[in-house]
């Protein structure tokens, strides 16, 4: 089972390198290649999570054994959190891959699209499974560079400008991360994460680790578009082709933004009080300001993009609360509960936000416009899209049967138990505003009377409906993960890899 881990990177890379050679020979078949490869990886990730949930698999690339217990090669580490992230990445990647096949028919250069798409998935898989700092940076760069090119794929006026801003800010973020990496190497002169965490555990928390952590917060905050650094997200996510904005908002800002932050701040550095205050503050700010900015939007995808910022604020706030409790040495299982809520919300968010962007894409595919003002009454004409969009809107605003409700509930309970009453109140208020703004989307886009000339709109092709239906079913099924019985196998391994449950 160990030697299967590199497959998560070899298969998507192999497909990406194969397509430019064979796309002329099999012009219509090569489009299905990335989706099938990612489907196989999805099954593999699921199997890894089930087979050994709580213990970590370590794979030494090149077979270099540590010398005098100093690791010299690159180690691939797959633990609970990495396995669940792999499931999410490959799930949304598979569904967006299927959705993209009919959607990309109106673009030329489809072979470039599918090459860059499978490279993005390979990059994200690489970031999640690696245990080496610089290797995480290299695979982060692969996924980010392919997302720059994919955002600018349509090369219209808006997309080029959005992609340029996204690339400049993303470039600065990568350089800040590289700078933090250089100082870490200067301080510990090694790159292996577990090796660094051993060294940092022994040394007292001094100015160097604070300095490194500040730069990492700035770098990964820019990547995850948290509040002080969110300027690029609405432009980039709204002007990208829809399967790509579903991948960007659903998975990319999580796999290389939030996941890297959590992995470094929980596993590598010692949790300090000041840093956890900063992280909670950023989380709360993103949550509140994200939803306030979202109210005034009329373009569907831009509205969804702002909501991504506020939902990510939930996850970071929950992680921040857990860090504060750990730093103050408070009650451990409140911290565990808060982190469970945060991770559960992150997994839910990638499912329903991916679905929302796919809905916006099919509305745009069918009617040609995304502006809520000149849409209306689409539910008669687009039955599947409106049904799935209703499901997604209910789950993002936290209505009981859907998964959004359970994860927000856990976060609010944890906040109350940790005596952060103000944060819990803010979380409830923001959830209500989210509900209001998504009702606006439902009313203007789907429930109103049909605009003139709207009768000849026909439903989107089968593959697009297929991926949307699967996502809406998942929105319901994932709410079962909150039940204690099922939670142990699916959710707890992820939490266990950040805060060990046994102690």
């Amino acid at each position: 089972m160990d030697s299967l881990i590199p497959l998560f990177v070899i298969i998507p890379l192999g497909i990406a390198f194969l397509i430019p050679l064979i796309w002329k020979l099999i012009p219509s078949v090569f489009k299905y290649l990335p989706a099938t490869g990612i489907l196989f990886l999805l099954v593999l990730a699921f199997y890894i999570l089930i087979a050994n949930g709580n213990e970590t698999l370590i794979y030494k690339v090149g077979g270099w054994e540590p010398v005098k217990n100093v690791p010299i090669g690159i180690h691939l580490v797959v633990d609970g959190l990495a396995a669940s992230m792999l499931i999410i990445i490959n799930l949304i990647g598979f569904l967006a891959g299927i959705y993209a096949i009919p959607y990309m028919k109106k673009f030329t250069g489809e072979n470039y699209f599918f090459v860059l798409f499978s490279l993005m998935v390979a990059g994200m898989n690489g970031v999640v499974i690696t245990g080496d700092l610089f290797n995480m940076f290299v695979f982060l760069e692969i996924s980010v560079i392919s997302s720059y090119a994919l955002v600018a794929f349509g090369s219209s006026k808006d997309e080029l400008e959005a992609s340029f801003k996204y690339q400049v800010l993303g470039g600065i973020a990568s350089l800040l991360i590289l700078f933090a990496l250089a100082i870490t190497y200067w301080y510990t002169s090694t790159l292996n994460m577990s090796d660094i965490s051993h060294l940092l555990k022994q040394a007292p928390v001094n100015k160097v680790t604070i300095f490194i952590q500040l730069f990492l917060i700035a770098g990964f905050g820019l990547k995850a578009a948290l509040i002080p650094f969110h300027a690029w997200l609405p432009d980039a996510h709204s002007s990208a082709p829809s399967p790509i904005s579903a991948m960007l908002s659903g998975v990319l800002i999580k796999a290389i933004g939030i996941y890297a932050l959590l992995r470094l701040f929980f596993n590598m550095f010692r949790v300090t009080y000041e840093i956890s205050i900063i992280i909670t503050l950023i989380g709360v700010l993103s949550m509140v300001i994200g939803v306030i900015l979202a109210i005034g939007q009329w373009d569907m995808k831009r509205l969804f993009a702002y909501h991504s910022i506020s939902q990510m604020g939930y996850v970071i706030m929950a992680a921040g609360i857990a860090m504060i409790i750990l730093a103050k040495g408070g009650n451990r299982n409140i911290a565990i509960l808060s982190l469970t809520g945060g991770l559960f919300h992150m997994f839910n968010h990638s499912v329903f936000k991916g679905l929302l962007f796919l809905n916006a894409g099919s509305v745009e595919y069918a009617t040609g416009t995304r502006n809520l003002k000149d849409l209306g009454g689409l539910s008669e004409v687009l039955p599947v899209t409106s049904a799935t969009s209703l499901g997604a809107s209910l789950s993002i605003s936290g209505i009981p049967p859907f998964n959004g409700f359970f994860s927000k509930l856990i976060i609010i309970i944890a906040a109350i138990e940790g005596r952060f009453y103000f944060l819990a109140l803010l979380a409830v208020i923001v959830s209500i505003i989210t509900l209001a703004s998504f009702m606006k989307v439902q009313r203007y886009a789907f429930l109103d009377k049909l605009k003139k000339g709207g009768s000849n709109i026909k439903e989107v092709p089968f593959l697009m409906c297929f991926s949307m239906i699967i996502l809406v079913i998942l929105c319901l099924v994932m709410s079962l993960m909150a039940i204690p019985g099922i939670r142990e196998t699916f959710l707890m391994p992820a939490v266990n890899s950040l805060i060990s449950l046994k102690m």
Binding site: P6, G14, G62
Partner: protein, 143 residues
Amino acid sequence: MKGMTSIVKKVSALISGLVFLYGCYIIFHGHLTPGGGFAGGTIIAGSFILLIIANGIQYFRLKKEKEESSLAEGAGILFFLLFAAGGLLLTAHVFFRNFLPYGTPGNLLSAGVIPLYNIFVGIEVAAGLLSIFLAFVIYKKED
């Protein structure tokens, strides 16, 4: 600008052959002297670019070249991946295993699979940079 004078064309034709040879030298001796796949590949790309700049774009039928160069690039990196994964599949079931014999350090055929990696990466880098340069140049010429 009409194009370079014939002196430049003649001299660049001579020099680019030398530069190409130097790039190949850097790639093949990657594991012995400084340099390697990346440096040698860039130098080879530089020699082609020198030719294109000196003789102007219409000298070559460049539309077709761009497709071939990205084709060569895909092939180069595909072999690199196959050899890296070869270690996984064939012998030691470990990704990136150096499975060819090491030979005596110092002479040309040593260090196992590394010279092959150097050559594949060299091909990939040369073809890649050439495609980038052609994409920029052709884009300007077309409209």
